[in-house]
């Protein structure tokens, strides 16, 4: 197994009764890569992610995440990944600081480290004036950025982002992607699903899932060449139409 491959998936399948939500997908993700995981609603993206982050058992196939097996080593996987879901997922009735401390705490970080991390994080996001405000009172864009930073608090090897920019304005999305680049530059692998095809252009490589199968996987540039399309949007439409 190559060291630089942080996710290796081979023939991974999830059946719900007779229905294959994820139908034998195979791909690899390199360390520090921004991997776009695209697909229409119901294409099986979320199911696939759930198997990779260890909260859903695959029906068949093989997969390792950060070098750990998704069948037997889910506990180790969980320690090494960060996760941010499509629903905003910090506690609205806790302050910015309390949220950071809480999430640092459940990853077992020592108090001193949490303190350092939270100071750095608050400074980086420019939240100094609102540290003691309830998260519920912040604008969505800020929450989203805070949520992303919190998912990185334990320095995970891989961070899974499930539609992280849903419902956010273009400027904030831009800033969000800058944060993603920064994390990737520091060696964190980013596994991101999105609906926005312009965001797909920002990824190093993208896979496109249709009806549980990966129908295309390459760099955005090559995909556009392959499908003779102007943009990722056209590539996506071409594939989704079937």
């Amino acid at each position: 197994m190559s060291k630089s491959k942080v996710i290796q998936v081979e023939g991974l399948t999830k059946m719900f009764g007779d229905f294959a939500a994820v139908n034998s997908i195979t791909f690899e993700v390199e360390k520090g890569e921004i991997f776009g995981f695209l697909g229409a609603n119901g294409a099986g993206k979320t199911t696939a992610i759930k198997m990779l982050i260890g909260i859903s058992h695959p029906t068949s196939g093989k997969a390792t995440v950060a070098g750990f097996d998704v069948y037997t080593q889910t506990e180790d996987i969980k320690k090494n990944i960060g996760y941010m879901s499509q629903k905003f997922a910090l506690y609205d009735d806790l302050t910015v600081k309390e949220n950071i401390i809480f999430f640092g705490g459940i990853y077992g970080l020592p108090r001193k480290i949490i303190k350092e991390k939270s100071d750095a994080l608050i400074k980086e996001l420019g939240l100094e004036n609102v540290t003691n405000q309830l998260v519920g009172s912040l604008p969505l864009g800020w929450k989203q950025k805070l949520s992303f930073s919190v998912s990185l608090i334990h320095d995970p090897k891989i961070v899974f982002l499930d539609e992280p920019t849903g419902g956010v304005d273009p400027i904030t999305r831009r800033q969000f992607w800058e944060m993603i680049y920064k994390a990737a530059n520091q060696g964190t692998t980013v596994f991101v699903t999105t609906h926005y095809m312009d965001e797909a252009e920002y990824c190093d490589r993208v896979s496109i899932m249709v009806n549980g199968k990966i129908e295309a996987l390459d760099t955005p540039k090559k995909l556009k060449e392959q499908f003779q399309a102007e943009s990722m949007n056209d590539v996506f439409l071409e594939l989704a139409r079937g």
């Binding site: 909260i55 859903s56 996760y83 879901s85 997922a89 809480f102 999430f103 705490g105 459940i106 077992g108």
Partner: protein, 368 residues
């Protein structure tokens, strides 16, 4: 362990920052106990009754005087023939007729036994029941006085004793029921809501992806409610002792331990509810309809189980609250020890284990 403390701290932030849950946690118990204690009462006052005295001797006269002198009854009518009994009821003037047998005094001295027939208007069964009990209590009292001076024991029949609640205070009967409802409400409803809230907000997913194990998440969510429920139980007992002067006959320690057992039963139910409901609303509806309603109707809290039709009596057996109310009444009013309530305790324990096993199973299925 430190993760755990952080988790519990977070849980308390949730509770103390939400006015609604604060009200349910602390306002409700106090309001309910006061409401049941002061406003809702099944005590009776100045109920009109009729007397049919077939002996007219000194003993019956004394008893009639005693009943007439009590604040519970006023003697509205004195009738002389048995056939009139039906007509006084039909006219609706009285709620009860006391029928003394012939030669009451003589029989009492000769056979040490005499009989009074208590006929009540059972169109209102609760009142009828209460009247019977009150008359019995007065007879009992009279008999005690009678036997004090005389060596031979005289007996007046019927002999239903009201030993457990001699002052006939209804609040004594309500406290166990109210305590049960509140513990159930706080433990089952609040936990199920707080767990489903995490599901709804998507934070549950984040927690499950974290290195915290699922059972740690659940225990972390439940512990604050155990703590608050215990405080509630203490508040209720204090209120009943200091405001309603209710004597707690049995061991406080036993009372405490049984309450903790019931709290855990309710929490297990709460967890079970949270595994089958996706939203806070659903969790609340299931808690209210599935838990509170049966407790109020079928646990023997308000309506006596013995007067229910057979199918409902059978259903009442599977309601944990029924057993807890029996336990509470036994400890609070009768003052008995574990040797008399071990069976009920065991049933409650069994139910707790069953609900826990079931929710663990459900929880796992959900994770698959």
């Amino acid at each position: 362990m430190k993760r755990f403390i952080g988790f519990i701290k977070k849980e308390f932030y949730h509770i103390f920052r939400d006015r609604r849950s604060l009200f349910i946690l602390f306002g409700m118990p106090i309001a309910q106990i006061l409401l049941f204690g002061f406003a809702i009462t099944n005590e009776i006052n100045n109920v009109d009754i009729a007397i049919l005295d077939n002996s007219k001797d000194s003993t019956t006269e004394e008893i009639i005087n005693k009943i007439g002198a009590s604040k519970y009854f006023s003697i509205k009518q004195v009738i002389t023939r048995e056939v009139d009994i039906a007509s006084v009821f039909e006219k609706g003037h009285v709620k009860a007729v006391l029928n003394f047998e012939k030669d009451f005094s003589k029989k009492l001295i000769k056979d040490h036994k005499a009989t009074i027939q208590i006929i009540t208007d059972a169109t209102d069964p609760n009142t009828a029941n209460t009247i019977t009990n009150y008359v019995n209590a007065i007879l009992q009292q009279y008999q005690k006085e009678l036997n004090k001076d005389i060596n031979v024991a005289y007996q007046i029949i019927p002999q239903t004793r009201m030993v457990y609640n001699p002052e006939l205070k209804s609040v004594y009967m309500f406290v166990p029921g109210v305590m049960t409802i509140i513990l159930l409400l706080v433990s089952a409803m609040m936990t199920s809501i707080s767990i489903t809230r995490e599901k709804e907000l998507g934070t549950m997913e984040i927690l499950l992806v974290s290195p915290l194990k699922p059972f740690q998440v659940i225990i972390g969510k439940v512990i604050p409610y155990i703590f608050l429920s215990i405080i509630n139980a203490i508040v209720i007992v204090m209120l009943s002792i200091f405001i309603f002067n209710m004597p707690i006959q049995g061991s406080l320690l036993l009372l405490g331990l049984e309450s903790v057992l019931f709290i855990i039963t309710s929490l297990a139910l709460g967890i079970l509810i949270s595994t089958i409901s996706a939203t806070q609303q659903t969790a609340m509806m299931i808690s209210l309809m599935g838990l509170m309603l049966p407790v109020i109707l079928l646990s023997g809290f308000i309506f006596p189980i013995s007067s229910m039709p057979m199918p409902l009596q059978i259903i009442s057996h599977i309601i944990p609250a029924k057993w807890f109310i029996i336990i509470l009444k036994a400890i609070m009013l009768k003052g008995v020890g574990l040797e008399f309530i071990w069976k009920e305790t065991l049933i409650l324990l069994g139910m707790t284990v069953f609900f826990m096993a079931l929710s663990v199973k459900k929880y796992k299925i959900r994770l698959e």
